[in-house]
Symmetry: C2
Subunit: 603 residues, 2 copies
């Protein structure tokens, strides 16, 4: 407990929950890290596919990025409209539930949850890659470093929102700033011919440059647009006029994203930079632009910070979504419980554990995780946009045709994205995501139907009080005559009803001794001795209770357990744990009431 307090801080009162509204600048810092940080790996993913067709194919990265740029524009315009239509925040789950029905909304929720988990895993893996590009000796510890980063983020988030707000603006702007400076200086160097001449090592093609390969590189590049939905989910957090401010922030975010992504792709393509296992594209670019001095290290540090913050942003979004689902009955109720520090602690912990598991499973390798990443994001994009299309068709309203076209283009583009991604990456891991979505939707529905069944079963029918057994038999299991047993007997005797003590005959000698002692201390309570041919005290006693229940149908059987409790928890292993086993077994019998009479040892 003191450890928990030190890590997480003292509990906060419910009344301390005030909604801090964000200014545009702070909102840009907090909400854009997820989206902008993808520039750290998106270009690299495109090049990794193209280089399969040899060094010359890298020139194709420019047209591929232009396709991604179109996607960015389409998404920005589409999400602006969602921002105005859903000022209370419009994630894929909300928009789909509102316009498309339950099943699509659950698919959207499942896709979003997978997306958030992968955001954490991919961003942390890429952040650690930025670190190990700068300090190669740390490369072999990348999984451990990634786990440490996730645990750090978990703790920060369990401490609560307030401390993670403004606190994170500085590193985000630092990260955006240094990458921006790098892109700017790199472009000036290129234009004025000052760039280091850099002759790439020629790689031979292992695949032909087919349309399919180019589509695969588009699919890989789609990771650039992950996180673009974040602003539209958080409109409520802005200062009024909320929608206007959110929309402006969204446009700024898209501009930064687009220029950094296009800049990096242009520089990498122009400089003939090729992907390496142990150094990222951004690190190579930074080295060419600035050498290996302080400026280089600031860029790596900035990239890493930006990526860690992107992971952090999922820790706000996932628990929020889980709590909405829990309130609707699709997730365990614990997910909707506020913890000590006014955050959804359970959601934070679940997300952290799954992300750690993924990181270990994929050896902290960004490229291995990427094929899984984009699928979920694009499913949620498409559901949101399709939902909006449906909305305009039914609701209409001013300028609905234009709005319909904007969201229609968004829906078609992102739907096309799904087709491209799933057809080119299906065997690389995308199938896992489809399978998981089906399983999650099934889980959501099962949970809801369970809760519904419970509510029906415990509901009180008007004017009808359920009848109860009329008699009560008290049974006290004993294994000796001592203070704990006497205490239980005296407690039982202070209440009305028939009492009987029961012991199991494990060893004839000690049974005889206990019977003699009982004559003195038993206060006239009858002591039955049960045979125990198989030496299982527990099952002999359970058989006895079973028999009693069968014999007396209209009777409660109250089992009064004399329980000896050790003074220290570790002494527990020296006791037989029979009381615990007994209680667990009896709990599942109808008409049995369990009563614990504890006797506390002092040492």
């Amino acid at each position: 407990m003191p450890l928990k307090r030190w890590l997480v801080g003292d509990p906060l009162k419910s009344t301390q929950l005030v909604h801090e509204r964000l200014s545009k600048t702070i909102a840009l810092a907090i909400l854009s890290s997820n989206s902008i940080s993808s520039v750290a790996y998106a270009t690299e993913e495109i090049l990794l596919v193209l280089v399969l067709a040899g060094t010359a194919a890298i020139a194709w990265s420019i047209p591929v990025s232009l396709a991604i740029l179109f996607l960015i524009v389409a998404l920005t315009l589409s999400y602006r409209q969602i921002i105005y239509e859903y000022p209370e925040g419009g994630g894929a789950y909300v928009v789909a539930r509102n316009n498309l029905g339950v099943q699509p909304s659950l698919i959207g929720a499942a896709a979003l949850m997978i997306d958030y988990v992968l955001t954490v895993a991919v961003s942390v893996a890429a952040g650690i890659a930025a670190l190990t590009s700068a300090v190669p000796s740390l490369f072999e510890y990348r999984v451990a470093l990634g786990l440490a980063a996730i645990i750090f983020i978990i703790v920060i988030n369990l401490r609560g929102v307030r401390e993670s707000g403004k606190f994170f603006a500085v590193p985000t702007f630092f990260g955006i700033g240094v990458i921006g400076v790098m892109v700017g200086v790199g472009i000036i160097q290129t234009l004025f011919g000052q760039a280091d001449s850099f002759s790439p090592d020629h790689r031979t093609a292992v695949e032909e440059l087919t349309i399919f390969l180019i589509l695969r590189s588009v699919a890989a590049g789609c990771t650039a647009v992950t996180g673009m939905e974040v602003v539209s989910n958080s409109v409520k957090a802005f200062r009024p006029p909320e929608s206007k401010n959110a929309s402006a922030t969204m446009i700024w975010m898209s501009l930064i994203l687009a220029s950094l992504f296009m800049g990096i792709t242009f520089l990498a393509s122009h400089g003939g930079i090729q992907p390496k296992t142990d150094e990222t594209i951004v690190s190579q670019l930074a080295r060419i632009t600035f050498g290996s001095g302080a400026l280089y290290y600031s860029i790596q540090a900035g990239t890493m910070l930006l990526l860690i913050l992107a992971a952090n942003s999922a820790f706000a979004a996932f628990p929020q979504l889980a709590s909405i689902l829990a309130r609707d009955g699709y997730m365990p109720r614990q997910m909707a419980t506020f913890g000590d520090r006014l955050v959804f602690s359970n959601g934070i912990i679940v997300l952290g554990i799954i992300a750690c598991f993924l990181l270990v499973l994929f050896h902290g390798d960004t490229h291995a995780l990427i094929p899984l990443y984009a699928v979920g994001v694009f499913i949620s994009f498409t559901l949101s946009q399709t939902g909006m299309v449906r909305r305009w068709l039914t609701k209409k309203g001013p300028h609905w045709q234009t709005k319909l076209i904007v969201n229609g283009v968004g829906a078609v583009t992102t739907g096309g994205g799904i087709i491209i991604i799933s057809s080119t990456k299906f065997t690389h891991g995308a199938w896992i995501v489809f399978l998981l979505i089906i399983l999650l939707v099934f889980m959501f529905r099962s949970i809801r139907s369970h809760y519904k069944a419970v509510t029906e079963q415990i509901a009180l029918t008007r004017d009808h009080r359920p009848p109860l057994p009329r008699r009560n038999v008290v049974v006290i299991p004993i294994n000796g005559v001592n203070q704990a047993v006497i205490r239980a007997v005296d407690y039982a005797r202070s209440r009305p009803g028939e009492i009987q003590a029961v012991m199991v005959d494990v060893d004839a000698e000690s049974t005889a001794r206990i019977q003699i002692q009982w004559a003195q201390w038993g206060c006239g309570v009858r002591l039955s001795v049960l045979p125990c041919p198989y030496r299982s005290v527990l099952s002999s006693f359970l058989d006895y209770v079973e028999e009693l229940l069968k014999k007396e149908p209209d009777t409660w059987v109250t089992v009064v357990i004399p329980e000896i409790l050790p003074a220290h928890w570790w002494q527990g292993i020296l006791h037989n744990q029979r009381a615990l086993l007994l209680k667990t077994a009896l709990l599942f019998k109808e008409r049995v009431i369990l009563t614990d009479v504890p006797f506390h040892l002092k040492r």
Copy 2:
């Protein structure tokens, strides 16, 4: 449960426990595997040390083995005397407790326990080495194979003694037989010059041939005598006249051990065989003697079976010792409980788990485990012999001087063994054993003092019945008005005493709703609403109970918990587990009685 039945068999009645007395032949088979199986690795351990001083130093293996031979003779004569003095079985613990006092007996018990654990780990590792020498492709799976072997032995032992008795005689004699044939044929080939000429690859010395190195090889060879104490522990199991039969069996065992060990060492030394990482000495000898045909494979199979049976023998000895210690109060009482199948199941499982752990920790490598092995054995030897010396000095009796000299020589020889082993192998792992012995003795003493403290605290003082609180307040925590709650209220109302319902105010709206429902269904029971500023329902309620206990010093507080129980265990994760947490927390409060009123869901 069906899995358990299938693996372990149906429970046996206590009356089915009959002591099957062993004939000399069967006893030899069952009790000698531990001791004789050490020929599979003892020679190899000697050579591994000597070869450090170059190929020529291998000639020293003959004098080193003669020292071990002397040890075998001394131990045989010493243990014969223990067999006659302790016909009820005389392990180091019993002999030391009888003659030297508590502290030495606990040291002996600790040494024996460590010995048994290592017997399992070493024998299984060496058995798997015999297998992988014959089938090298299995070498990389040696840890997994070892674990599978241990689990198989655990299951066999949990099934009970009867099935593991005669059943094991055949493979033991097969193993002894084939190794004997190999040694015989090998010696004949050598004497008549038919042996394959075998030119060993010359190895350069990495250490000088010092006295210290030779002592180290003696220490390594001491593993040959491990397991020699087994017969003296099990005198009771023989047919009458017990001591005479046991003594004869012991002598046969020693003769077989001595001749196989000396034979293998002679052949290895004469044939210039050197230790290899992936093939045992015995396997190399078998290959030279018989080529790579069926005979070779029978020898490897026989060796492996013998070693697996050696591991099996520890599964009889360890639980037996643990149960004796448990009866004396030095181990948790569960260790003295007979399981379903009339065996000490807990001891079997504990031994199996620790051995598996060791096997994984040392990567299934016999040589890495050996330095730990001999220390424990020799400590128990020395304590037994010293105990006997003390016995002759105090008890005297006929021919006591001769007997004193025999055990005295045993004590001095084995004591010398400890000094040699610990001085040459201390840094190779022997220190772990000393440390473990200290820790185990400390544990034994702590457990005993705990049990003593418990007995004192729960003892009834004559004529004095401890006074109990006079009043009783019933508290029912509720979080809604439903059938489960109404059931608990009705149960509480059927008994005398003041009743109050208590709810925690998490959410103002639902609190108001529950209060209205309570007016209809509460039967006039007062409902208190507790504030809950930190959203922890549990701690708010605990504070309330604490308050109540403080306010009313002479009162029981009976907490009646309405508990909703799911129909299937996996549904448990969808419920808040608050009842369980509440029960755990309340268990540790004085004067609180816990009463569970379960409500069982049907679906």
